[in-house]
């Protein structure tokens, strides 16, 4: 099953890199967002470094949504999804493959956005950044797990662009909260024990929802 998922993921990534428009748009959106947020705050009242984690997670959420929107579009265009469904691969493998591709997409955005935030918001470099990257990876998994499933559903409706955020954002709340709280603490140099409850929530969320969404995916197909 994993091999099939990897095949699907590779295909999705090949499609994405053939055109690159979605990725570049999401990237530009993220960078613009990061800069706009800087000017939206009174820099004398709040230190930029304190603001940074919050900005990062908000941008992360919305750029992630942009990436998720395109996830199933290519499958519907000429009913390419029928090609996947008729093949001897499990439905769960299709979901995992798509989610994997989305994960790579979101991580790609993070790879550029995190350094940008560090740069623009004058974050002190050090061990904190490593922790930040790790938390970002965990958060990305949760985001992508839920978002891929809902994107599969939303793509079949009339108001896909509106519906996907509406469905996904309530689910992103625990992820963003946990990521923001734990990263803020770790970057402020607080002991790990303080961030630990939040990290536990993040990991638990990932485990629960990757499993639940994988199992739920076959129900979103018209069979």
């Amino acid at each position: 099953m994993l091999a099939a998922a990897w095949l699907v993921a590779r295909k999705d990534l090949a499609i994405e890199f053939r055109t690159r428009t979605a990725f570049l748009s999401a990237l530009v959106f993220a960078l613009l967002g990061v800069t706009i947020f800087y000017f939206a705050w009174d820099a004398t009242a709040v230190a930029a470094a304190d603001l940074a984690p919050g900005v990062l997670w908000v941008i992360f959420t919305f750029a992630g949504l942009l990436g998720l929107q395109r996830s199933f579009g290519s499958e519907l265009a000429d009913r390419a999804v029928d090609g996947l469904l008729g093949a001897p691969i499990s439905r769960e493998a299709i979901y995992l493959g798509k989610a994997l591709a989305n994960l790579v997409f979101v991580m790609g955005i993070l790879v550029v956005t995190i350094p940008a935030v560090v740069l623009f918001y004058n974050l002190p470099l050090g061990a904190g950044i490593g922790a930040l990257a790790g938390i970002a990876a965990l958060a990305a998994v949760g985001l992508v797990a839920v978002g891929t499933l809902f994107s599969a559903m939303a793509v079949n409706t009339r108001m896909a662009e509106l519906l996907l955020p509406m469905l996904s954002l309530p689910f992103f709340v625990p992820v963003v909260m946990a990521a923001a709280q734990s990263s803020a603490r770790l970057m402020a140099g607080r002991p790990v024990a303080e961030a630990w409850p939040w990290l536990r929530i993040l990991v638990a969320f990932d485990i629960v929802f990757v499993t639940a969404c994988t199992l739920a995916f076959p129900f979103t197909l018209d069979e």
Binding site: A14, I15, S74, R79, A80, A87, E223
Partner: protein, 232 residues
């Protein structure tokens, strides 16, 4: 391939209402019928894309719905091209080859494209190809894994003479190689060239079904025209 008592309902309406038949290796069933008769729904059930409300579909004894392995024996050509527009023809067919676990995906893909005489456009993005060429690539895609059961939903649409000839040659070769074919078509002449059996479907049921040798072509033509005209 064995279909038994297939029923499929959408909302309150029975799209397929009790269809049963068997196809053996080398059989070719030409299925005619007016639009809305349920032919596409039937094909999707046979391909494992749609679950029957009632009844079963088996390929070599294995039910097609649960068994991923059974689906490996089936190839589908449908109305839509099932291609990824951004990828090239070669990439599309290669992807299918990999999905079906073929040992030499790029080789198999090239051979399939050659079979349908589109190998010279192999590296063109699928969306840049004309409808007829896309159809050829789509057919190549369906055949790349040498399926034992080929389901074709109006495959001749959009094909020019060269394409039609290539398709007929490919289908004949497959049939002689031991595959079973199900051909849905509005073109009586082309359908009957390959057929060993013929059937007419109307309102979810087979209203006629007989072996090729037994059928009277003129009767079929008249019936078919009458049915098509009378379809409300």
């Amino acid at each position: 391939m064995q279909a038994e008592g297939l029923v499929r309902t959408f909302g309150g309406r029975r799209a397929v209402d009790g269809v049963s038949f068997t196809l053996h290796a080398g059989d070719c069933l030409a299925l005619f019928g007016p639009n809305g008769a349920g032919k596409t729904t039937l094909l999707r059930m046979l391909a494992g894309l749609l679950a029957p409300g009632q009844g079963t579909v088996r390929v070599n004894g294995v039910p097609v719905k649960e068994g991923a392995a059974a689906r490996a024996q089936v190839g589908l050509v449908s109305h839509a091209s099932m291609l990824y527009g951004v990828l090239t023809a070669r990439e599309n067919v290669e992807f299918a080859a990999r999905l079906y676990g073929l040992p030499d995906p790029s080789g198999a893909a090239m051979r399939a494209l050659e079979l349908m005489r589109v190998e010279d456009r192999a590296d063109a993005a699928a969306r840049t190809l004309s409808r007829g060429l896309q159809q050829r690539v789509s057919i190549a895609r369906a055949m790349v894994h040498a399926p034992k059961l080929l389901l074709c939903d109006e495959p001749y649409t959009g094909l020019d003479d060269a394409g039609s000839a290539a398709l007929t040659a490919a289908l004949t070769e497959r049939r002689e190689g031991g595959a079973a074919l199900l051909l849905v078509t509005h073109n009586l002449a082309e359908g009957l060239v390959l057929a060993t059996q013929a059937a007419i479907m109307r309102r979810g049921r087979f209203v006629r079904h007989e072996a090729r040798e037994l059928l009277d072509v003129r009767v079929y033509q008249a019936q078919y025209r009458e049915l098509a005209a009378a379809h409300d």
